[in-house]
């Protein structure tokens, strides 16, 4: 099992949680976990009813709007009332209580800083919740937004726990004792196996396969089940693929991460695009992983699309609780795009709006990045550090004295290896600038221009070829080169790559649109 302790004991365990709550630094001032304001009672009762009646629209309203406004009004810096205090209003419904606690902890993480005991309790709650879902006894229909938030928060809390645990220096004896005692809480195997189990149990990969053959509907209904079934396991399984991509990126395992995402066709709309947070997180990690795999063109393409999408739609999300997160990821992706385009100047792939935003933010830095001097490296360092995921060390700490912090180790390693790659490519921008102005030239000429001997030049040219030709997931060689060349004996012939315009997809979209319009017209009755 992912955890070694027994969940039947939860109520007994709960006193401990309350105990820890009471001791939580600033949370105790005037907070009575058993006090339930009327508005909260109404909220809980209504939410419970809507869930039982499978009224997704109302659930979504309450979840997105009421929960936020109540939090803003009543629980700005205290937790929500404890689950025990509201349980009898909802018939002590086991699953509802798990959902309530999930939101309770999410609110706590967002507004206060969780104690170690709370982190452990939140893990317990996820275990119970996911186990209920995995056993298939859930018959609810929940909004995609909520299901996404669950997976998103689960991975976030895991990452947060690893960061917290890695700061060993200032741990109290009591914290260390707890860490030792609950060594299964947020254990990396447990986290990965839950996500994996959700993917497998939901049969989501098979569902997406069958959908391609027209045997099943999933994307068309945004994952909802209109035949009386539940969408919870299916959609959680679906989002868990994104969760796995993200965890693997946090671990530095980009190849495996992308593999986990493979069942989702990233070039098309899908359930992952139905929630803005999921859309952004998916593309951010997809792009980052491709950057680390040197598949710059793939990264540029998807960053370009999502940045354009955010540019056009961000005004609609201004009131959303995710708005700040959207803006942050937006900025980070511009930084990553600046890195990609500096290593692989395929500006033609970038749409005009995105390009002008990029120039505004990073134009000057990008010019300096081309120089590949010490200053350029420090800009690569700066942008990478700003935009990379919060890498984690998944293993448990050594509890031996002296206690040392290791929360920066994983980040430093990824940064170092990335800068190593940048260094290997430092001579390529010089080659590129010469290739751009000549259509053909002798090797000896270029060698003179670049102030190297001919045999060194040959190695530089081979490096150029190697670094601009990536290997895709099927093992095929893909050219990322903006300017290319070939050598015939001692003569270099330059080939300018032509812009690749994809008309096919455009026409497909238009055909579908036109069909929609015709259908609408058919429905119009003229009296």
């Amino acid at each position: 099992m992912a955890t070694s302790y027994d969940y039947e004991d939860a109520p007994a365990d709960y006193e401990g949680a309350m105990d820890a709550l009471g001791r939580g630094s600033s949370q105790d001032l005037g907070y009575d976990p058993n006090f339930v304001p009327d508005s909260v009672k109404t909220f809980v009762v209504h939410l419970y009813r809507h869930i039982r009646e499978k009224n997704v629209y109302e659930i979504h309203q309450m979840y997105e709007t009421s929960f936020q406004s109540l939090s803003d009004r009543l629980f700005k810096d205290t937790p929500w009332p404890s689950v025990d205090a509201v349980a009898h209003d909802v018939d002590n419904d086991h699953v509802f209580c798990l959902l309530y606690r999930e939101m309770w902890f999410r609110h706590l993480y967002a507004r206060l800083s969780p104690t170690l005991k709370q982190r452990i309790d939140s893990w317990d709650n996820y275990c119970s919740l996911f186990q209920v879902v995995l056993h298939g006894v859930v018959n609810m229909q929940l909004p995609n937004q909520w299901l996404w938030d669950m997976v998103d928060e689960f991975v976030y809390q895991f990452q947060s726990f690893c960061q917290y645990r890695a700061k060993m220096k200032n741990k109290t004896e009591q914290e260390i004792a707890l860490l030792r005692q609950y060594d299964q809480a947020w254990n990396v195997y447990g986290v990965l196996n839950f996500l994996q189990a959700l993917v497998e149990k939901s049969m989501i990969i098979q569902i997406l396969e069958r959908e391609k053959e027209g045997l099943e509907q999933f994307t068309a209904t945004d994952g909802y089940d209109y035949n009386g079934g539940s969408n919870v396991l299916k959609v959680l399984g679906y989002f868990s693929m994104v969760g796995l991509l993200r965890v693997h990126c946090l671990l530095g395992d980009y190849h495996t991460g992308l593999k986990c995402l493979q069942p989702i066709d990233i070039t098309q709309q899908g359930v992952y695009t139905s929630v803005i947070g999921s859309h952004i997180i998916t593309i951010y990690h997809y792009g980052f992983a491709n950057l680390m795999l040197r598949r710059y063109v793939d990264a540029i393409r998807e960053f370009n699309k999502i940045l354009l999408y955010i540019y056009k739609t961000k005004q609609y999300h201004q009131k959303s609780p995710q708005y700040e997160q959207i803006l942050k990821k937006n900025e980070q992706m511009y930084a990553l795009l600046a890195i990609c385009l500096s290593l692989c100047p395929q500006v033609k792939l970038v749409e005009e709006t995105v390009n002008s935003q990029l120039r505004e933010k990073y134009g000057e830095k990008m010019i300096r990045m081309q120089r590949y001097d010490d200053e350029a490296f420090s800009i690569y360092d700066e942008l990478f550090s700003y935009a990379c995921p919060k890498f984690i060390t998944p293993s448990a700490p050594s509890f031996e004295e002296p206690l040392v912090n290791y929360n920066q180790d994983a980040y430093r390693l990824q940064l170092k290896l990335f800068l190593y790659e940048v260094k290997q490519q430092q001579l390529l921008s010089g080659v590129r600038s010469f290739l751009k102005v000549y259509s053909s030239m002798y090797l000896s000429e270029l060698a003179t221009y670049m102030e190297v001997d001919e045999s060194t030049l040959r190695t530089i040219l081979m490096t150029y070829k190697h670094k601009t030709h990536a290997v895709d997931s099927d093992g095929k060689i893909i050219s990322n080169a903006d300017v290319d060349f070939y050598i015939d004996d001692n003569m270099i012939h330059v080939v300018e790559s032509k812009p690749v315009k994809q008309y096919g997809d455009y026409f497909l979209r238009q055909i579908v649109k036109l069909e929609g319009v015709i259908n609408d017209l058919d429905r119009v009755r003229l009296d």
């Binding site: 992912a2 196996n193 290896l417 045999s455 490096t463 070829k465 030709h469 004996d489 579908v512």
Partner: protein, 233 residues
């Protein structure tokens, strides 16, 4: 959940190949010994599985105290042999920095650096100094030569004989034999006689003959067309 999965009885496990084991148990510490054996098997049978090796490095990452650096070194050598794929970096991303400081890993990192930057002369010189490391893995030389030829054929239509000789580290009579083999089996053409002025015409591909490049923009995957099947029907 890890425990649930490992409950498979030993006699059942025998019928699984290691690849299948990785596919169904990607996050199970109990398959670690199988994966270590599998690395040795890949070395002796000259096969390769990136997925299995990454899976093992991942388990080492989760439980550093179980790490076997000898095995890690073998994985890295196999990853070098997989160039031009970026497998070597993929592995390094998962290996803690303090482990990478060990002498044998430093050597491998230098070798990788030479290959990544096209400095084959340096590579072969360095490899010669560390025969004990690389000779432990059969097929190493051939794999690197294959990578070298790959880079050459991205770059050259016609390559001068001395350049080829340096890059694949074969000279004189052995080079003639090698060329003869490539001419019969891989479509290489020799221009001029066996002096240093000899040119080798490499097979045409879309990278050294850009006119061969198919215009990928015009093709649409069938999956995307299926979206409009209902309309077409």
């Amino acid at each position: 959940m890890g425990r649930e999965r490992e409950a498979q009885k030993p006699q059942q496990q025998v019928s699984y190949t290691v690849e299948q084991l990785v596919a169904v148990n990607p996050y199970n510490p109990d398959i670690l010994p199988d994966l270590e054996n599998y690395v040795n098997e890949q070395v002796s049978s000259q096969t390769y599985s990136l997925d299995a090796n990454l899976c093992l490095l991942r388990l080492y990452q989760f439980e550093p105290e179980r790490m076997n650096t000898q095995i890690v070194a073998r994985i890295l050598i196999k990853a070098l042999m997989a160039m031009p794929a970026p497998d070597f970096s993929l592995c390094l991303f998962l290996i803690p920095e303090r482990v990478q400081m060990e002498e044998q890993f430093k050597t491998l990192i230098v070798l990788s650096h030479y290959l990544e930057t096209g400095r084959f002369r340096h590579f072969w010189d360095e490899a010669a100094k560390h025969r004990h490391i690389v000779e432990a893995v059969p097929g190493f030389e051939q794999a690197i030569q294959a990578y070298a030829i790959h880079v050459l054929s991205l770059t050259y239509q016609k390559v001068p004989r001395p350049v080829l000789a340096e890059v694949i580290n074969i000279k004189g009579l052995s080079l003639d034999k090698f060329l003869e083999h490539q001419v019969t089996n891989c479509g290489w053409i020799l221009e001029g006689d066996q002096g240093s002025g000899q040119l080798i015409v490499l097979p045409r591909n879309e990278f050294n003959h850009p006119e061969l490049k198919k215009n990928a923009a015009d093709s649409i995957p069938l999956e995307h067309i299926t979206r409009i099947f209902p309309i077409l029907g």
